[in-house]
């Protein structure tokens, strides 16, 4: 049974609050660090820009800056974990896991140490820094690793909860954050649970959805805008928020597939290997339905404003609506 939970009341207002998910990282780490003295934080010379500066200021003896050395970042974290600490290793996703993927594989996943990797600046919406800093492949890189949990929270509030929950579990975790200030979608009261996907938009009670939109990360907001506009035009849409990409909430996805019989996935990531692929894998052997993928089509990003970039790469509300219209035609 899909339940609706209390989202931000101002969700669809033009003055909806916006915050960086990195701020959620910072708040989450302070709370996690206060609750558990074993929590330590590492960065590779990117403390403030990845949101870990406040932890550094409050707990300097539990904070390590390894300088611009991302391989060391995760392997030192592995050693700290083996000595009983709960390490969060934070840098830009292009370097972390981009540069140090093998060390994550060997010293964290294979070696089974509960290190939490924070990969910041995921997606094209990183903006002016350009392609080299816009990570579009991290979901693919992390979800193929055994034992790695992959989280992609949709806003700063969900991010804070994700950090707190990650600190409590005995598992390697990858957490993807964005750079930009993005709309607050949830509220403090919205439940968050690792491994559980939740419906964030649905048609009137008793009405079956004609299409399901499955989205992850701050781009979920474009999916919600699309759902609202479609529903105003008489289409019945359900939107599922995937805040945990691995392990995927297969039950929630199958339920939605059975109901809507057509799906659109939305992610700020390459289409290859990301959320869309994970959903397709999940359905292919059990209940395949027509699908459309919103994401980056096998290209690199570039400099621009976030709004310009999601328009250029086909990831706006308008693109999602077009994909919905396309996919429902293939239902039989």
């Amino acid at each position: 049974m899909h339940e609706i939970i209390s989202l931000n009341e101002k969700l669809f207002e033009t003055d909806v609050e916006k915050e960086t998910t990195r701020k959620g990282v910072g708040e989450g780490l302070l709370l996690a660090g206060e609750a558990d003295p074993r929590v330590v934080v590492l960065t590779a010379d990117l403390a403030d820009s990845t949101g870990v500066g406040e932890f550094r200021n409050k707990y300097p003896e539990r904070f390590i800056d390894v300088g611009v050395a991302e391989q060391n970042l995760v392997t030192v974290a592995s050693g700290l974990a083996s000595a009983g600490k709960i390490p969060f290793a934070s840098s830009y996703a292009v370097f972390n896991p981009g540069r140090n993927w093998e060390q994550i594989r060997t010293t964290i996943c294979y070696n089974n140490q509960p290190v939490k990797i924070i990969g910041s600046h995921g997606g094209v919406t990183v903006g002016a820094d350009g392609a080299s800093h816009q990570m579009l492949e991290d979901i693919a890189l992390m979800r193929v690793l055994p034992r790695m949990i992959v989280l992609s929270p949709c806003d700063a509030i969900e991010m804070k909860k994700a950090i707190i929950e990650s600190a409590k579990i005995e598992s390697p975790v990858y957490i993807r954050t964005d750079r930009d200030k993005t709309p607050i979608i949830t509220s403090q009261a919205t439940p968050f649970e690792i491994g559980k996907a939740r419906i964030f938009f649905k048609p009137k009670v008793g009405v079956r959805a004609d299409v399901g939109i499955i989205a992850t990360g701050p781009l979920l907001y474009e999916a919600l805008l699309a759902a609202k506009e479609l529903s105003e035009k008489g289409k019945n849409v359900k939107v599922l928020n995937i805040s945990t990409i691995k392990p995927l909430d297969k039950d929630a996805i199958l339920l939605l597939a059975h109901e809507a019989k057509a799906l659109v996935t939305v992610e700020n990531h390459q289409i290859a290997g990301g959320l869309g692929s994970a959903v397709a894998e999940c359905l292919a052997t059990e209940y395949p339905v027509p699908m459309e993928f919103i994401g980056v089509h096998d290209s690199f990003g570039q400099s621009g404003t976030p709004a310009e970039l999601i328009k250029h790469y086909g990831m706006t509300k308008k693109d999602i609506i077009q994909a919905v219209n396309k996919v429902v035609l293939r239902k039989n």
């Binding site: 003896e61 300088g67 391989q71 030192v76 700290l80 974990a81 009983g84 060390q103 010293t107 070696n111």
Partner: protein, 291 residues
């Protein structure tokens, strides 16, 4: 200073460790011989004299940590552990076989006493640094105000000279000096070989001692086959470090000059023995003529 009788005992043990590892490799049919043999003396010194450990309680919280960064020589560690009582010596014949706890490169979860699943070179020192920093946090040595707390656990990191090619290694070297890790001792097996040939031809690294010193480490050099010199050196270092104020401490690098395949004259000095195992006939001959 260790006494001569004890040294004689340890030399006998190192020979037993060599015999066992040669048999194990021959039985497995594959594995890395040269480095395993040339580190047998240092492993003996560690497992039978220097390490604070308990073979019957491998996860004892207060134990010293021995991180084997160059995991490919694990057969000598398995052999030393067996002789020290972690598991029966007979288990060594399962080396590299399906279902064995003695995997081709160490798998931490399979064998208590192994501190990390190593193999890919260049990351062991970083992990050792992480363990050492955890130790500093736990003893309060990482706070701004220095206090003369004793160095508790020692973290030993065994590395190869070939692995100094990896950039990750130097990231760890820099951080260890920044963190003033007086509880960290790296031991570099300077046997002069790597897979493709001699280190001087593939990737020269001399002077290793100068490099570590310029990265603000304290460096000593030793004959890796002189058990007495090695033990006396480590004990001297630990005493010296304990008397230094935390903010003045440095990590320690011991560069151990070794002869690849030491103990088997026919194989000594030949880089081809880095990555191959002896046949049963070769093993029999080697054990018989062990020097």
């Amino acid at each position: 200073m260790i006494n001569e009788d004890r040294v004689t005992e340890l030399k006998k043990i190192s020979n037993e460790i060599r015999k066992s590892l040669i048999s194990a490799l021959a039985e497995a049919g594959s594995g890395h011989t040269a480095g395993a043999l040339d580190m047998a003396d240092i492993f003996t010194a560690l497992y039978f004299h220097l390490l604070k450990h308990n073979p019957k309680d491998p996860l004892w919280a207060d134990r010293d940590r021995l991180v084997l960064s160059n995991g490919h020589i694990c057969t000598v560690q398995y052999s030393a552990m067996a002789h020290a009582g972690y598991f029966p010596v007979s288990e060594l014949k399962t080396l590299r076989k399906f279902g064995s706890r003695l995997q081709g490169h160490p798998w931490r979860e399979f064998l208590p006493g192994i501190e990390t699943s190593s193999g890919p070179l260049g990351s062991g020192l970083s992990q050792a640094v992480g363990m050492a920093i955890a130790g500093q946090i736990d003893t309060g040595n990482r706070r701004a105000i220095s206090s003369r707390r004793p160095v508790q656990k020692t973290i030993y990191c065994l590395m190869s000279d070939g692995e100094l090619n990896e950039g990750n290694t130097w990231e760890a070297v820099m951080l260890a000096a920044k963190e003033k890790l007086g509880n960290l001792i790296a031991i570099i097996d300077k046997n002069g070989i790597q897979i493709d040939g001699f280190t001087k031809d593939i990737m020269p690294t001399d002077s290793v001692a100068d490099k570590f010193r310029s990265f603000n480490w304290y460096v000593e050099e030793v004959d890796g086959h002189d058990i007495k010199a090695f033990i006396d050196l480590v004990e001297k270092i630990k005493t010296a470090v304990a008397s230094v104020a935390p903010e003045m401490r440095k990590p320690v690098a011991i560069i151990a000059k070794t002869i690849p395949s030491k103990g088997v004259p026919e194989w000594e000095g030949k880089y081809e023995w880095h990555g191959k195992a002896p046949t049963k006939a070769e093993a029999e001959m080697a054990i018989k003529n062990l020097r």
